[in-house]
């Protein structure tokens, strides 16, 4: 998975703004390239310091946006305030297959590790996904306008 620096910075900003609550959102892109981090309200009824929930209508909205932009819904991100960027048992229990789960660790001072995970087909655990940071190369047909539109 390729995660341009601009997208990492957006996720970090959302995580800081939401702190001490968890932030969450969708990741849109094409193939393995993430082109947009779409913030979504955390609708969890449980303490938001350690829970997030994306309502079905928000999921559909993210899917529709992906279609409109001719992108794919590749996954979701969320922050782990004051916890390691490692999927929890709760994450595993609630995970969907074929979606990349990006987790960003954050504390009151700074953002920490960013990791990415994919649920195994048998739901037994997450497999780590290699994250390649930085600017995408020409081969990946990166549309800089799409990325720029995120930062308005």
């Amino acid at each position: 998975m390729i995660l341009p620096n601009a997208i990492v910075e957006s996720i970090a900003r959302f995580a800081r703004e939401a702190y001490p609550y968890e932030c969450c959102g969708a990741l849109l892109g094409a193939d393995a390239l993430i082109m947009e981090a779409l913030p979504i309200a955390n609708s969890s009824d449980e303490p938001k310091e350690r829970r997030f929930r994306i309502r079905p209508e928000d999921f559909q909205r993210a899917e529709r946006r992906a279609e409109q932009q001719q992108l794919e819904l590749l996954g979701f991100y969320h922050s782990h305030p004051n916890h390691a960027a490692h999927p929890s048992a709760y994450d595993l229990e609630h995970a969907w297959p074929n979606l990349i789960y990006v987790i960003l660790s954050i504390d009151s001072q700074r953002t920490g590790d960013l990791t990415a995970w994919l649920l195994r087909d048998d739901r037994s655990r997450f497999e780590p996904v290699e994250v390649r940071r930085g600017e995408p190369d020409a081969n990946h047909n990166f549309d800089s306008h799409a990325a720029a539109s995120l930062h308005k």
């Binding site: 350690r50 309502r55 079905p56 209508e57 999921f59 969320h78 297959p97 979606l99 739901r123």
Partner: protein
């Protein structure tokens, strides 16, 4: 008549990338059963082991959630469309089963509980010094489950540390204190994240290091660093859990909490250099840092939990020889130069200078200094020399320079007449601090040919007479 089921993105790999599947069924339940029967890999993701739809799987008939209809019994009409819509949920770990077992004695206490234990896990505590106070403090903080412990030190483990610095073992002598400490703490609690800062804390790095922590534990053994830690904590608004020890006496408090006194409110100025002996000069009972360091750990944990009354505004004094605890009330000084109404200190200063300690003590020889090899040459030549040892009698019993006379620094003014002002005098102590003050005093008293032995008896034993022990 078949019903259309809309498939969400994450499940399309199981339907040949189709966004919809046609299935037969009288009810929603039947339609879904027919779906997973023909697309077997969907089953585990839609249904739990109990055979029920998973909580994060939402089923809509047309635009209505079946939870508000007749659930899976909802009857289907011709042209109805079923949509499977995910809700996405997750979150960070609370406590693992292993952690619950490990911290069970905490979890059943009303002041800690699950909530408090989670606070400890999320907390970041920095301990300045991995020595006498830092040892018990960090051992207990790690055992208690403080999630991140930072340590600042630059020293290596010395034999003379082992009498009290219980982070380190005999086999660690010569090893970096931080390396030894990190290993020991990880052994006690592998779940704790240890961050090591192998550096001498100074005005240019202190703010950067301290700012990443919630609570600072001051385990320093000298005045410049103590003032530095205090000032940095005030500027960063971080609580400073203070402790100090000497012989049988100890002190503890919590400084720099907003609106509460800081260390400068208590001691506006450092004592003149050399007046208050350090533990290296005056000694310390090995157990004493164990008592004071664990008090510091207790206060750090209370600050994290927000439980009880901390030592904010109080100075706890321990006299272990009488085993007597006393307490002094502290007030914030409105004229305090750093936390008062009109502070004059807005950034970190030169603390060596502030405390009157020459930078890198003894690194540059002054005119009055004499090196151990020079002294040896003079003695070998048979020069007429008077060697005055200004240490205490107990120190004199451990090692001495042959031919020296013992006049403890405190007795010097009363016994100065014993010294012949016409002879060349070399004054020494353990490492050169007290003797520098003695030289100053003697010069003031009219002695002309007075030298301070650079590095003291420690240097003498290390370089000239290795048959004697050092301490």
């Amino acid at each position: 008549m078949p019903t259309t089921i809309l498939i969400p993105t994450p499940l399309r790999p199981y339907t040949n990338k189709s966004a919809s599947v046609e299935v037969e069924g009288r009810t929603v339940g039947e339609a879904l059963e027919n779906l997973v029967r023909t697309h077997d890999r969907l089953r585990g993701h839609l249904y739990g082991d109990d055979g029920k739809l998973r909580s994060f799987v939402n089923i809509y008939v047309n635009e209505s959630d079946i939870r508000y209809l007749q659930k899976e019994e909802t009857l289907l009409k011709p042209k109805d469309t079923i949509a499977i819509v995910p809700s996405v949920a997750g979150g960070s770990a609370t406590l693992t089963h292993e952690e619950i077992r490990r911290y069970s004695r905490h979890l059943i206490m009303p002041e800690v509980g699950l909530e408090g234990q989670r606070k400890l896990k999320a907390a970041r505590v920095l301990c300045i010094g991995a020595g006498g106070l830092g040892s018990p403090a960090t051992l207990y903080l790690a055992a208690a489950g403080v999630g991140t412990i930072g340590l600042v030190d630059f020293d290596v483990v010395d034999f003379s540390n082992l009498q009290r610095q219980i982070l380190h073992s005999t086999g660690d002598v010569g090893r970096s204190k931080l390396e030894s400490a990190a290993e020991r703490l990880a052994g006690i609690n592998p779940g704790v994240h240890i961050e090591t800062h192998e550096t001498a804390l100074n005005s240019s790095n202190a703010l950067e290091i301290l700012q990443n922590y919630d609570v600072i534990v001051d385990g320093t053994d000298n005045f410049p660093t103590r003032y530095l830690v205090n000032d940095a904590c005030v500027l960063l608004r971080k609580p400073n859990v203070y402790g100090s020890i000497f012989r049988f006496e100890g002190q503890a408090s919590v400084f720099a909490v907003p609106d509460a006194p800081c260390y400068r409110c208590l001691y506006a100025e450092p004592p003149p250099p050399g007046l208050v002996p350090s533990c290296a000069e005056g000694g310390v009972l090995g157990v004493l840092p164990g008592i004071i360091g664990t008090i510091q750990a207790t206060e750090a944990i209370k600050l994290i939990l927000g439980a009880g009354e901390t030592l904010v505004g109080r100075l706890l004094l321990l006299d272990a020889l009488r085993m007597h605890f006393r307490e002094l009330k502290l007030r914030r000084d409105p004229n305090c130069p750093i936390c008062g109404e009109h502070p004059t200190i807005h950034e970190l200063i030169d603390y060596e200078q502030f405390c009157g300690v020459p930078a890198h003590e003894g690194a540059v020889a002054t005119a009055a200094d004499i090196l151990v090899n020079e002294l040896k040459e003079k003695l070998d030549r048979g020069d007429d020399l008077l060697i005055v040892d200004v240490r205490e009698p107990l120190e004199y019993q451990i090692n001495r320079i042959p031919g020296s006379i013992l006049i403890p620094l405190g007795d010097l003014p009363g016994r100065v007449r014993e010294l012949d002002g016409n002879r060349e005098i070399v004054v020494h102590c353990k490492t050169g601090g007290r003797s520098a003050r003695a030289v100053e005093f003697l010069k003031g008293a009219g002695f002309r040919r007075v030298h301070n032995l650079k590095g003291g008896i420690v240097q003498w034993v290390t370089q000239i007479d290795t048959s004697q022990p050092t301490y």
